[in-house]
Symmetry: C2
Subunit: 395 residues, 2 copies
């Protein structure tokens, strides 16, 4: 396995500019060179880019339950490996394993599993996507906006229970989705802030005033905008209206065109801008497996183009990040610099990991993706290693 | 009456910049000097501004039915004079007299009245706001989204009738609000374009696909966004969703915080930007008269803070442009340069009158307003004459 790689003649999308036909050197899992001219040092391997390929930071999916037959609630090392092994094929180089509302033992087991999981990366750097921690979605949400979260396990915020879970996860919980109306004294929100965990508003039926108050008290993230939120009306803007307009709130968006209409996606992009929008998949076990019947949070999900519970509720997605990018570019005609922010930089900043991840800079982890100009994913590099190469693309 | 006036030591908000403590000379109803240094020529009168006063182009209200006891549907010269006399006190220096859905004789009479009205300006320049033409609101709208338009007079687009009206108005119709679903072959829309009239989508229950199609066929304006439009839902964006996201569509917005919630106003500002938003009043007879019972389109309207039909439907507004500006600044924290666009420049461009109106440039009509930094209207100048001065403000 080569420990150094030179990417040459590629358009480099950095945080501040687009460097045309540049050179990026990777060594020992890190970026060690960025320039318009070739380096003088030696690299074991050289990748010569085709014309109009773009190099972006590897994508960070901060809301993913599973895919390719596995769910992080399976609470097995195999499930985590299945997810982490497959994600580079969609351009994802790191992710937050996301729980679903369940009985407390199952949640605890899933959290422990993440903490105890030994990714290949520790021995054999770079062959998998990296798990950056946990996104706890529920159970402290609103029964009125359960969506695909099993309503029987929804609880009011329980601080001792949450502390127990935090210990079980070995403090790997990074984001918690909760309904602020279930935490009217902001005690749970305060605990999250104290523990340096991102409080994310979601699965909430709260009025806009409550959302704005929660934002004032430190909530700074909104889980899968539009879905499972009290909806926008022009005289009652509700959670969607507050999320779209409050500068403190950064939003997650599933850009499959199914969870919300393309015009709703465009509206979120226009209102929030590319600095306050994070593309996610919210994908479940069935992703990559085709149509059929699957399990999600103990419920039966039927997949036929989209994933539905028996009552027709959307049950997570089968979206791949790379397809979300293609759709986002079609809908908004956004720039590659904006895609870099919405798929990587913003998430790294939100997670406080922007010193290591989320942009192409010397010294940062060599997690990278290469796109052709049409929005086709061509290559994924994890920790400096080529993990996925698109051999089917006709170039 | 002085035919020249120098405004000195004032912050001048031009189309391209903010000139601090500058000088603007007005002569014979036009702007003849703009500079950071005083002119050498003589002016009959000099106005020395207080610190932190801002000079903006006079406001253009493109959607106003009446106020101060008069309605343009009264079809009298007195009604037009009452409206035109009072508008400078709210910072409006020109307007489109706006009809309401009525029987065809009454509409025709109102149109003729505007055409035949002789404003004072023709003899005695500058003592009134100027009528720039007519906004025909209805009757070619959707019965499902009548709002305060009397439903019994709503008609499908009738081209011969419209041509008759156009003649009656002496071709003063500038904007027509219509429902595109009532014009599925775009015949009416085509006629409007042929006659160089702005087709404005409003009082419509159309699906977003129909709105986008109408925009492709030349519709470029949306009447009082949010109100009387099929509402936004994240999987059915409808007329509101299309209006917020389609670059061809410029929106009218009533910024009173009653017709739409402040967060909805903020959303419109974020999504459309200050280039595609026009602030309007949509005001009716009762404006300026206090609470009571009034007539609007043959219906009884009760005013108590807001204007309502018997069934609780909002019936126009009692908003003054100057109060709309104050509210808009509170809600969005926008700049004075943006207020200039949203109250004047954009409307002038949309009407094709931007060579004469809508910005502070040498050669343009001397229609101007002066604001203090808190958003209080201090002075209104029409055709180079001081028509309103705020003597109550405590400076």
């Amino acid at each position: 396995m080569s420990s150094s790689l030179l990417l040459s003649n590629i358009h480099i999308v950095t945080k501040t500019e687009m460097i045309a036909n540049g050179f990026v050197g990777l060594r020992d899992g890190k970026i060690d060179y960025i320039s318009t001219t070739p380096p003088t040092g030696n690299y074991e391997k050289v990748y010569i880019s085709r014309e109009n390929f773009y190099l972006l930071p590897g994508m960070i999916d901060i809301h993913i339950h599973g895919g390719y037959g596995a769910d992080m609630m399976d609470a097995t090392s195999e499930a985590m490996n299945t997810i982490a092994d497959h994600l580079p094929s969609e351009g994802t180089t790191s992710f937050l394993a996301t729980t679903i509302t369940q009985n407390h033992q199952e949640i605890e087991q899933a959290l422990k599993n993440v903490a105890q999981w030994k990714p290949y990366n520790e021995e054999q750097a770079g062959v998998q996507a990296q798990c950056l921690g946990i996104h706890l979605e529920g159970p402290f949400i609103s029964k009125d906006k359960a969506g695909a979260q099993p309503v029987q396990w929804i609880k009011q915020p329980n601080l001792p229970l949450f502390k127990k879970w935090l210990d079980a996860s070995e403090h790997l919980i990074r984001i918690v989705t909760f309904a602020p109306e279930e935490d009217p004294d902001f005690a749970f929100l305060s605990l999250l802030q104290e523990k340096n965990i991102i409080p994310s508003i979601g699965h909430t039926n709260a009025h806009h005033d409550m959302i704005e108050l929660a934002a004032k008290h430190g909530a700074r993230h909104v889980t899968h905008l539009y879905n499972a939120l009290s909806s926008f009306q022009h005289r009652e803007p509700n959670a969607v209206g507050a999320a779209l307009t409050n500068e403190n709130l950064h939003i997650e968006l599933i850009t499959d065109g199914i969870h919300s209409h393309p015009l709703a996606i465009k509206l979120a992009y226009l209102a929030k801008g590319s600095d306050r929008l994070m593309m996610i998949t919210d994908s479940m076990r069935a992703k990559g497996l085709g149509n059929g019947t699957y399990e999600f949070g103990g419920q039966t999900v039927t997949v036929s183009g989209k994933a539905l519970l028996a009552d027709g509720t959307l049950a997570g997605s089968i979206l791949r990040m790379k397809d979300g990018v293609k759709r986002m570019k079609q809908i908004t005609h956004c720039e590659w610099t904006e895609i870099a922010k919405m798929t990587s930089t913003n998430a790294a900043i939100q997670l406080g990991l922007d010193q290591q991840l989320g942009s192409i800079e010397v010294g940062k982890q060599a997690d990278l993706v290469i796109w052709d100009e049409s929005g086709e994913l061509m290559m994924t590099i994890c920790h400096g290693q080529i993990v996925f190469e698109n051999k089917e693309a006709n170039h």
